[in-house]
C-alpha cells in the first residue's frame, strides 16, 4: 500500500440537520426527505438508496409536510405556503399562500386530484391539482383548534383530521364533519394537558389509526366512530405513523427513538377476522423519530438524530442478501470538502458559510502508525459568509488555492458557455475537470456521463450509459482516463483518447468485483489519483479508503478483501502471493474526504459520528434499570 504522511483532519464541524418529514412514492421508488433547515433530498431506493438530488435549504422555509402527487413533489410548512418543486432544476417551482396560518399537514387523495392541507386556524383547505399549478377549491367545516394531521380514505370521499384532543371525519364532497372521535388524555399530571393527534391513517376498511402525544396508538372504527383498541407504546409522544401499501403492517415512531410495528393478523389460523397486534420494536435512533415511511420491504425512519435508517423487514426480503442488511445514511452522498492539492488548503462547505483552512506542517519522521510532532498547526485562513437567504449548494477550490467558487440556488454560476447536449433534462450532479483543463466530465441523474472538450467547447464523447447513478468520477491527469464509480459500487475506467473502456476496466468487469466490495452500504464519494504512480486510484466511502493498484491482480472470490492487517504479519516474500489490487484501510472512520497532496502526503477528513451525537440536544429521559 505504501507509506504516507497523513494529515488527520478532525476540525470540520459538519453538523447535518434533523429530519423533519419523509414521503415515499412507490411508483417511482423515490423517497423525498425534508430536513429542519429546509433542504430536500431525494433518494432513489431502486438504485442502492443513492441520494440522487439535493435541493438546498432556504432560511425562511421550514418544511412540515411533504407529499408526492405522481412525480410531482409538494411541501407545506409553518410559513403558511404550499410549494411545488422543480425536481429538474432543483428549486421551488412556485409557492401558493393558503391563508390559514401555519400549515401542519398536507395530504393528497389516492386519485391525485385533490390536495388537502390542515391549517393552524382549524380549517382543512382543498386545492385542486392542475397540470401546471394548484388552485384553491374550498374549505371544509372550520373547527376549533389546529389541524395537525390529515388522511384521506382511499376512496377519496372521506377525510380524517387529527386535532387537539380529537379526531374529525369529514365528508370530502359536502365538507361536513360526520364524526367526532374524542382522544383520551394521558394519565396523571398530563391530564390537564391537551393531547395532540400527531399522525393519523385512514385505511380502506374504514379503520382509523391515530397516534398521539399521550403515547398511544389507537385503532378506531371509522364507520361508527368507536374506539376498538388502544396500544400504549411509550410514555412520551408517538410522532409518526406509516402504513404499508397492502395495509397489513403499520409502524409508529416515538420520542424515545423506537419504531414499533403493528401487524394485521388473524388471531387464529383458519379465521378471517384480523386484529392489529403489536409485534416488533426497532430501536435505531437515540432521539425523536419524526418521519417514517413503510416501503414494501423496509421501514425507513428519520428524526432528530439526523440519520436516515432503512430497516428491512426480514419477513419480506430474502435473508442474507444485500436487501436484508440495515442501512444508515449519515452523510450526504456528495463531497462537502474540497482540497487544493498544490497549496495544501481545505475548503469546507456549510449550508450558510464556507471555511478555508491551511493544513499544518511537520518535518519529523515517525514510525508506522505513530503520530508526528506538528511544526505549525492548522489554521483557519478564511471564513466566507454567503449572501441572501438561500443555502450554499456547491463549492470548489482551484488546485493552486487561488480561486474559490460557490453557488447557491438563486443564481446559477455559469462561467462557461453552455454546451448542453440536447435531450438531457435531468440535473447534472457530478462535475469533474482534468488537471490540465482540457476535459470536463459531467454526470446526471439519468446516469449519463458526458465528456466535453474545454478547448474546443464541445461535446467530446458520451460514456456508455450504465444502469446505476455515478457517485464519483475523476479524470486521470496523465493518462486522461475517466474513472467512474457507480452507486452499485461498480468501477469503470474509460479512455477519453480511445473513447472506449480500458483494458483494466474490461478485465474488472469480466472477473467481477469481490462480493465484500459489493456489500458495502455507503457509496464512493471521491476519486483521486496518485501523481507519482499512474496505476494508483484512490477512492473512499464513509468507512474506508482504498488504493486500487491496477498493476496487481484483482481479488478473487476466495481471497480475503480486507487483508492489510493480515499481510503486515506475513514475511516479505509471502506478501506478494497474497496481495491484490484493492488495498483497503479502515484506520480512519466516518470519512468525508481523502485526498493526496502534491508532496505525497494524504489528507484524511474525518467526522466521527460520536461528535455529531454529542452535539445533539439531550434525548427524552428514560428510566433505565437500576438507576
Amino acid at each position: 500500500m505504501g507509506e504516507f504522511k497523513v494529515h488527520r483532519v478532525r476540525f470540520f464541524d459538519y453538523m447535518p440537520s434533523a429530519i423533519r418529514a419523509m414521503v415515499f412514492s412507490t411508483r417511482t421508488e423515490r423517497l423525498a426527505l425534508a430536513r429542519a433547515d429546509g433542504a430536500l433530498e431525494i433518494f432513489n431506493f431502486s438504485d442502492n438508496y443513492f441520494q440522487e438530488k439535493v435541493l438546498p435549504g432556504h432560511d425562511g422555509r421550514a418544511v412540515e409536510a411533504l407529499c408526492w402527487v405522481g412525480p410531482r413533489l409538494f411541501s407545506a410548512g409553518l410559513n403558511g405556503e404550499i410549494t411545488e418543486y422543480d425536481l429538474e432544476n432543483l428549486r421551488p417551482r412556485y409557492t401558493v399562500e393558503a391563508y390559514g396560518g401555519p400549515i401542519w399537514t398536507i395530504s393528497v387523495n389516492s386519485q391525485g386530484t385533490l390536495l388537502a392541507v390542515g391549517c393552524e386556524d382549524g380549517t382543512v383547505k382543498m386545492f385542486e391539482v392542475l397540470k401546471e399549478r394548484i388552485q384553491f377549491q374550498r374549505n371544509l367545516d372550520r373547527q376549533k383548534g389546529r389541524i395537525i394531521s390529515l388522511s384521506w380514505h382511499p376512496s377519496g370521499t372521506l377525510i380524517a383530521a387529527g386535532m387537539m384532543d380529537m379526531i374529525r371525519i369529514f365528508d370530502a364532497e359536502t365538507g361536513r364533519a360526520t364524526h367526532r372521535l374524542l382522544v383520551d388524555r394521558g394519565a396523571g399530571a398530563s391530564k390537564s394537558k391537551e393531547v395532540v393527534v400527531w399522525s393519523i391513517a385512514f385505511l380502506s376498511d374504514h379503520t382509523i389509526i391515530s397516534s398521539d402525544s399521550a403515547g398511544k396508538v389507537q385503532i378506531w372504527d371509522g364507520l361508527n366512530g368507536t374506539l376498538i383498541r388502544t396500544h400504549l407504546i411509550t410514555k412520551w409522544d408517538v410522532l409518526a405513523l406509516s402504513v404499508s401499501q397492502d395495509e397489513s403492517s403499520l409502524v409508529a415512531g416515538t420520542s424515545e427513538g423506537t419504531v414499533v410495528q403493528f401487524q394485521f393478523i388473524s388471531s387464529t389460523v383458519d379465521r378471517l377476522d384480523k386484529d392489529w397486534v403489536r409485534t416488533r420494536t426497532f430501536k435505531n435512533h437515540s432521539h425523536d423519530v419524526r418521519a417514517l415511511a413503510h416501503t414494501e420491504t423496509a421501514v425507513v425512519s428519520g428524526g432528530m438524530d439526523t440519520q436516515l435508517v432503512v430497516r428491512p423487514l426480514l419477513d419480506k426480503v430474502e435473508k442474507n442478501t444485500r436487501e436484508s442488511a440495515m442501512r444508515k445514511v449519515s452523510f450526504p452522498h456528495v463531497s462537502l470538502v474540497c482540497c487544493a492539492k498544490k497549496a495544501g488548503l481545505l475548503l469546507f462547505q456549510f449550508p450558510d458559510h464556507l471555511e478555508l483552512w491551511r493544513l499544518g506542517e511537520s518535518d519529523g519522521y515517525g514510525k508506522l502508525g505513530g503520530s508526528l510532532p506538528v511544526k505549525r498547526g492548522q489554521r483557519e485562513t478564511d471564513q466566507l459568509k454567503r449572501k441572501g437567504e438561500d443555502h450554499i449548494c456547491c463549492s470548489a477550490l482551484s488546485p493552486c488555492g487561488g480561486w474559490l467558487a460557490y453557488s447557491t440556488n438563486a443564481k446559477s454560476l455559469n462561467p462557461v458557455p453552455c454546451v448542453c447536449s440536447p435531450g438531457c433534462r435531468q440535473p447534472v450532479h457530478q462535475l469533474s475537470a482534468s488537471d490540465n483543463g482540457k476535459w470536463l466530465a459531467t454526470a446526471n441523474t439519468d446516469c449519463e456521463v458526458h465528456v466535453y472538450n474545454l478547448d474546443k467547447l464541445k461535446l467530446h464523447c458520451t460514456v456508455p450509459v450504465y444502469g446505476s447513478c455515478p457517485t464519483a468520477m475523476a479524470i486521470h491527469p496523465t493518462t486522461s482516463n475517466l474513472v467512474v464509480v457507480h452507486a452499485d459500487q461498480q468501477i469503470f475506467e474509460y479512455s477519453l483518447v480511445k473513447k472506449e473502456y480500458t483494458e483494466w476496466s474490461r478485465r474488472l468487469q469480466k472477473q467481477g468485483l469481490h462480493s465484500m466490495w459489493l456489500e458495502r452500504d455507503t457509496p464512493i464519494t471521491h476519486v483521486t489519483f496518485n501523481p507519482k504512480n499512474p496505476a494508483h486510484i484512490i477512492v473512499h466511502d464513509m468507512f474506508m479508503f482504498c488504493i486500487i493498484d491496477k498493476s496487481l491482480p484483482l481479488p478473487e472470490a476466495k481471497n480475503v478483501l480486507y487483508n492489510q492487517m493480515a499481510l503486515r504479519s506475513l514475511p516479505e516474500p509471502d506478501r506478494v502471493l497474497h496481495s491484490h489490487g484493492f488495498k483497503i484501510c479502515k484506520d480512519f472512520q466516518h470519512l468525508l474526504c481523502v485526498s493526496l497532496l502534491e508532496d505525497h502526503s494524504l489528507v484524511v477528513v474525518e467526522r466521527p459520528l460520536l461528535d455529531i451525537v454529542s452535539q445533539l440536544p439531550a434525548p427524552v429521559r428514560q428510566k433505565k434499570f437500576a438507576t
Binding site: 407504546i233 393478523i265 388471531s267 387464529t268 389460523v269 409485534t279 416488533r280 420494536t281 419477513d315 419480506k316
Partner: protein, 837 residues
C-alpha cells in the same frame, strides 16, 4: 453374599414436589403433583395430602388430567408405564406399558385416546436426545395393557416438559429446544421451524427456556435465557411469521402459563416474582413478589380461579387471584446438608438444615414439614458471594430436652465466627427455646459434637471436639423455677491428646465411656473422673467414624479409617477383635438394636451392610443401593414395630434407615410386607374436606389444623404441634357435617355432643345405650341407597387409623359410631359455631 430381593430402596417421604408442574383439578379443589415414586393429591384449601397414588416403580415424571374425564389422571414414569388413576378415590384404574422410559406426558382434548410422551431416542446413546411420541392407548378392559402403537411426532425435543405445549384446542403442538422453535400442525401434518441466533449484539441470550400457547388465539409465548418473552404469531408461515418481545425478567424465564381464557400470561423465574401480563395490553403488568425462592413451574386451574407456582426450595404456593392462599412445603434439601440427618427424640421428626439459618423438623411418617426453627436469628440476605451464618452441627440428648447447635461464618479475610447454642425444650410452648449461647466455644471449627445418651439425673453432658486440638465437656443443668442466677451451662473439662486434632467423639450407650478419636488414635475416657482409660490405634490413617456397640455388643467399639479399614475393638481386652478392608463412607449404629449399618462406597455406587459386631456374617447386605457416595443417613425409630420374621428384614423391625443420595434425594428401605400394609392403609377413605365456606368453617378449619399436626400454623409461628385435644374426635366432626334440615332436636343433640366431649371411662358404659336407637339407625341404613357397603366398612377402618394416629383421642364405641353415621347423612356445619360461641 445373598441378595435380598424383598427389600427395596424407595423414596418415601421428603421427596421433591417441585420436580414437575403440578396440576390443579377442574373443580380447583385438588392439586396433583409428582413426588418421587408416587403422585400426591393435595387439597388446595387445607394443604392436606389427601391421597398418595402409589404404584410406579421409578421416578414419576409427569401428571396430567385425562381430557375426556376430568376425574381421572394419567401419570408417567421412568419405569416405562403410564398409569390411569381415579384421583378422588386414589384408585389405580389402568396401567399402560410403553416399554421406554418416559420423561414427560402431554394430552389434549383434540386427540382422543392418544397421549404424547417424550422418550429418549435409543439410537444415539452418547448425546442423549429426545423425541415426542404419540401413544395410542388401546381400549381394553384389562388392568395391565401393552400399548403397541407408537408414532414419532417431533424428533429432537427438550426433555423439559415446559418446552412442549399444545396450542389452541390441540390443533398444533409447539416444541422449543435450544435455539429453535418447532410448530407441528396435526391437520395439515406440517412442521414449521423458526431459528434464533444464539446471542444478539446487545448481549441478549436467545436460548429457549419454556413455551406457552394461548388457548384461544394462535399465539405462542416463549421464554428465553436473558429474561425476554417473545409472543409468536403468524407461525403458519415459514417467512411471514412475526413476534413481539416483552422484557421484565432480569434472568432466565423458567416457566410461563396462559390463564384458561387467555386474558393473562403468567411468568416466573429466579427473581421469585410472579409476573402477570395482560395479553391485550402487555404494558400493564401485575407482580406477586417475595415468593421465597426461584419459581420453577407455574400452573393454572382450568377454571382460572387458582394458580400455583413450584419453587426451587421444594414448595408449592397456591395463589388465589394475586394473593397467596396456601403453601405446600416439602423437605428442603439444598446443595449440602451440613448438619447431618438427625431425629428429634421427642417428635420423631427428621431434623436437618432447611431454609438458610433454620433447622427444619420434618415428620417422615406424615410426610409433612412440622416447623422451622430459626437458629441463627439473623436476617438472611440473598446475595452472591456474601457469607452468612450457617448451622453446621446439631445434636439432641436422649430425652429430647436439650438441643445443641453450632453455627459458623467464615469470611474471606476475617476470623472465623463460631457460636454454640443450647436450646431447652419448653413444655408450655412445645418448642425449643434458646437457653444459652456460647460465643467462640473453641478457637477453631468444631468437628464433632455429641450428647451423653444415658438417661442421666439432673445434668446432661455435651462433648464438642474442635480442630484446635481440644475437646470440651459441657455440663448442662436445667434451672429450677426458683433460681434465676447461676449458669445453666458450664465447661466441665477440656481434654487433649498429644496436640492432635480430634475428629470424632462418641459416648457408649450407658454413658460410662467416651471415645474420642485424635487422628489415628482412639482415646477412651471416663466421663465421671475424666481419666484417660485406654488408647487404641490403628495407624497409619486417621479415624473417620466411631461407633459404640449396643446392648449385647456394648463391649465393642467400631471405627473406620481413611485407608478403608473397618476395625472392631474389644473394650474389655483393649485389643482389636477383628478388622476388615472396606471403603466405608458412613458407619451408623441403630439406637434400638445392636445392628450397625455401614455404607460402603465401591466403584461409583454405594453398598449397604448391616451387621452385628459380635457376629462374623452380616445380617443384611445390598449392593448398588444408589450411585455416588452416601454421607448422610439416620435410623429413625418406628412408632410401631414391624413383625417381620424373615431374617434378612428383621433389622428393619425397630427402626427405619433413611439416607440422602448425592442428588439430595431422601431414600429409605422397605420390605414387601411393609409395602402391602401401607397400600392397605392408603385404601382407607380419608375424611374429605368439603366443608362449606362459612364463618364457622374458619373456626373449624383452625381447629382442625391444630389437631392434625399443626403443621401449617406451626410453620409460621415456629412452634411444634400441641398434643391433640380430646374433643377433636370423630364425633364432633361427624356432627358438624350434618345438614340442618334433618337435624334432630337440639336437646337430643346436646346430650350426645356433651357426651362426646367427655373422656370415655370404658366401653361398657357406652354399650348400655338404648337398643331401640340402634335399631332405628340400622333401619335407616337399609333404606339408604348407594354405596352401603363402603359406608358400613368405612368408620371402622377410619377409627382404626385414627386410633393409631391420635393415641390420645378416645376410641369410639360401635354404638357411637352408628349414631354418628346416622347423623352424618345430615350435614350441618353451623351447629358447631353455635355450640362454640
Amino acid at each position: 453374599m445373598v441378595e435380598h430381593g424383598d427389600i427395596r430402596v424407595v423414596r418415601r417421604g421428603g421427596s421433591k414436589i417441585n420436580f414437575r408442574q403440578p396440576v390443579i383439578t377442574n373443580d380447583s379443589r385438588l392439586l396433583l403433583c409428582a413426588s418421587g415414586h408416587s403422585v400426591k393429591v393435595f387439597s388446595t384449601s387445607t394443604e392436606e395430602c389427601v391421597h398418595e397414588l402409589r404404584g410406579h416403580t421409578d421416578l414419576v415424571t409427569g401428571v396430567v388430567v385425562k381430557p375426556s374425564n376430568h376425574l381421572q389422571a394419567y401419570s408417567c414414569s421412568l419405569d416405562g408405564t403410564i398409569r390411569l388413576w381415579d384421583f378422588t378415590d386414589g384408585i389405580l384404574i389402568k396401567t399402560y406399558d410403553i416399554g421406554y422410559s418416559i420423561y414427560s406426558i402431554h394430552t389434549s382434548a383434540f386427540h382422543k385416546g392418544v397421549v404424547f410422551t417424550v422418550t429418549s431416542t435409543i439410537s444415539d446413546k452418547k448425546s442423549e436426545s429426545f423425541q415426542l411420541v404419540a401413544v395410542h392407548l388401546p381400549q381394553s378392559g384389562d388392568q395391565l395393557v401393552k400399548a403397541p402403537e407408537l408414532s414419532a411426532v417431533i424428533s429432537d425435543v427438550s426433555s423439559n416438559p415446559g418446552a412442549i405445549v399444545f396450542g389452541r384446542g390441540g390443533e398444533y403442538i409447539a416444541s422449543a429446544n435450544g435455539l429453535h422453535l418447532e410448530v407441528f400442525f396435526f391437520k395439515k401434518q406440517k412442521t414449521y421451524r423458526f431459528f434464533l441466533k444464539k446471542d444478539t449484539k446487545t448481549g441478549g441470550k436467545n436460548t429457549f427456556m419454556c413455551v406457552a400457547a394461548h388457548p384461544k388465539d394462535d399465539c405462542i409465548a416463549t421464554g428465553h435465557e436473558d429474561g425476554k418473552i417473545r409472543l409468536w404469531r403468524n407461525f403458519n408461515h415459514q417467512k411471514e411469521y412475526t413476534y413481539s418481545t416483552l422484557h421484565w425478567h432480569s434472568n432466565a424465564v423458567s416457566s410461563m402459563c396462559f390463564t384458561p381464557e387467555g386474558t393473562n400470561l403468567l411468568s416466573g423465574g429466579v427473581e421469585s416474582v410472579l409476573v402477570q401480563w395482560r395479553y391485550n395490553d402487555v404494558s400493564q403488568r401485575d407482580f406477586l413478589p417475595r415468593l421465597g425462592a426461584a419459581i420453577t413451574h407455574i400452573a393454572v386451574s382450568p377454571d382460572g380461579a387458582l394458580s400455583c407456582t413450584s419453587h426451587s426450595d421444594n414448595k408449592i404456593t397456591i395463589i388465589q387471584g394475586i394473593k397467596v392462599s396456601a403453601v405446600l412445603q416439602g423437605l428442603v434439601t439444598g446443595e449440602s446438608v451440613e448438619t447431618d440427618l438427625m431425629v428429634d427424640p421427642r417428635s420423631k421428626a427428621l431434623v436437618l438444615n432447611g431454609k438458610p439459618g433454620h433447622l427444619q423438623f420434618y415428620s417422615l411418617k406424615r410426610d409433612k414439614l412440622l416447623y422451622n426453627l430459626d437458629i441463627v436469628q439473623q436476617e438472611y440476605i440473598h446475595q452472591l458471594g456474601l457469607q452468612q451464618f450457617k448451622v453446621v452441627k446439631v445434636a439432641f440428648d436422649a430425652s429430647g430436652n436439650w438441643m445443641a447447635t453450632v453455627e459458623e461464618r467464615k469470611q474471606k479475610d476475617a476470623e472465623q465466627e463460631l457460636n454454640l447454642k443450647l436450646w431447652a425444650f419448653d413444655e408450655q410452648t412445645q418448642s425449643f427455646v434458646l437457653n444459652t449461647t456460647v460465643a467462640d466455644p473453641h478457637e477453631s471449627r468444631i468437628t464433632a459434637m455429641c450428647f451423653c445418651q444415658a438417661a442421666a439425673s439432673q445434668t446432661t453432658m455435651l462433648i464438642s471436639a474442635s480442630e484446635d486440638g481440644h475437646f470440651k465437656a459441657w455440663q448442662l443443668r436445667r434451672l429450677a423455677p426458683g433460681e434465676d442466677d447461676g449458669p445453666s451451662c458450664l465447661c466441665d473439662f477440656v481434654g487433649a491428646y498429644r496436640g492432635l486434632v480430634p475428629y470424632c467423639c462418641c459416648f457408649s450407650a450407658d454413658g460410662s465411656l467416651l471415645a474420642v478419636s485424635f487422628q489415628e488414635v482412639v482415646t477412651v475416657w471416663s466421663p465421671a473422673s475424666w481419666e484417660l482409660l485406654a488408647t487404641l490405634s490403628q495407624p497409619p490413617k486417621a479415624i473417620r467414624n466411631l461407633c459404640f456397640g449396643r446392648l449385647s455388643c456394648s463391649k465393642y467399639l467400631l471405627g473406620t479409617t481413611d485407608d478403608h479399614l473397618l476395625c472392631c475393638w474389644n473394650l474389655l481386652t483393649c485389643s482389636l477383635e477383628w478388622s476388615t478392608s472396606m471403603d466405608i463412607s458412613l458407619l451408623l449404629g441403630d439406637p434400638l438394636t445392636e445392628n450397625i449399618a455401614a455404607f460402603c462406597c465401591h466403584a461409583g455406587s454405594t453398598d449397604l451392610f448391616v451387621f452385628k459386631p459380635s457376629e462374623p456374617r452380616p445380617v443384611f447386605s445390598l449392593k448398588a443401593v444408589c450411585s455416588g457416595k452416601v454421607t448422610h443417613a439416620v435410623f429413625a425409630p418406628r412408632e410401631e414395630m414391624l413383625e417381620s420374621c424373615e431374617e434378612s428384614s428383621q433389622w428393619l423391625n425397630h427402626s427405619q434407615l433413611y439416607f440422602l443420595t448425592q442428588c439430595m434425594d431422601l431414600m429409605t428401605f422397605t420390605t414387601k410386607a411393609e409395602e402391602e400394609k401401607l397400600m392397605a392403609s392408603s385404601k382407607q377413605l380419608l375424611i374429605d374436606d368439603s366443608v362449606a365456606m362459612t364463618p364457622f368453617y374458619l373456626l373449624l378449619g383452625k381447629h382442625r389444623k391444630g389437631e392434625s399436626g399443626a403443621a401449617a400454623s406451626g410453620e409460621s409461628a415456629g412452634r411444634p404441634p400441641l398434643p391433640p385435644l380430646p374433643q377433636g374426635s370423630g364425633a364432633v366432626k361427624e356432627l358438624l357435617r350434618t345438614p340442618a334440615h334433618v337435624l334432630p332436636s337440639t336437646s337430643f343433640l346436646c346430650s350426645m355432643f356433651v357426651k362426646s366431649l367427655l373422656v370415655s371411662v370404658g366401653d361398657a358404659s357406652e354399650e348400655s345405650k338404648p337398643a331401640e336407637e340402634e335399631m332405628k339407625s340400622e333401619k335407616e341404613e337399609e333404606d339408604s341407597e348407594g354405596d352401603m357397603e363402603s359406608s358400613a366398612s368405612r368408620p371402622e377402618r377410619g377409627s382404626l387409623a385414627r386410633r393409631s394416629a391420635e393415641p390420645a383421642a378416645p376410641p369410639l364405641t360401635k354404638a357411637q359410631l352408628r349414631e354418628l353415621r346416622r347423623v352424618k347423612k345430615l350435614d350441618h356445619s353451623w351447629l358447631t359455631g353455635l355450640l362454640r360461641s
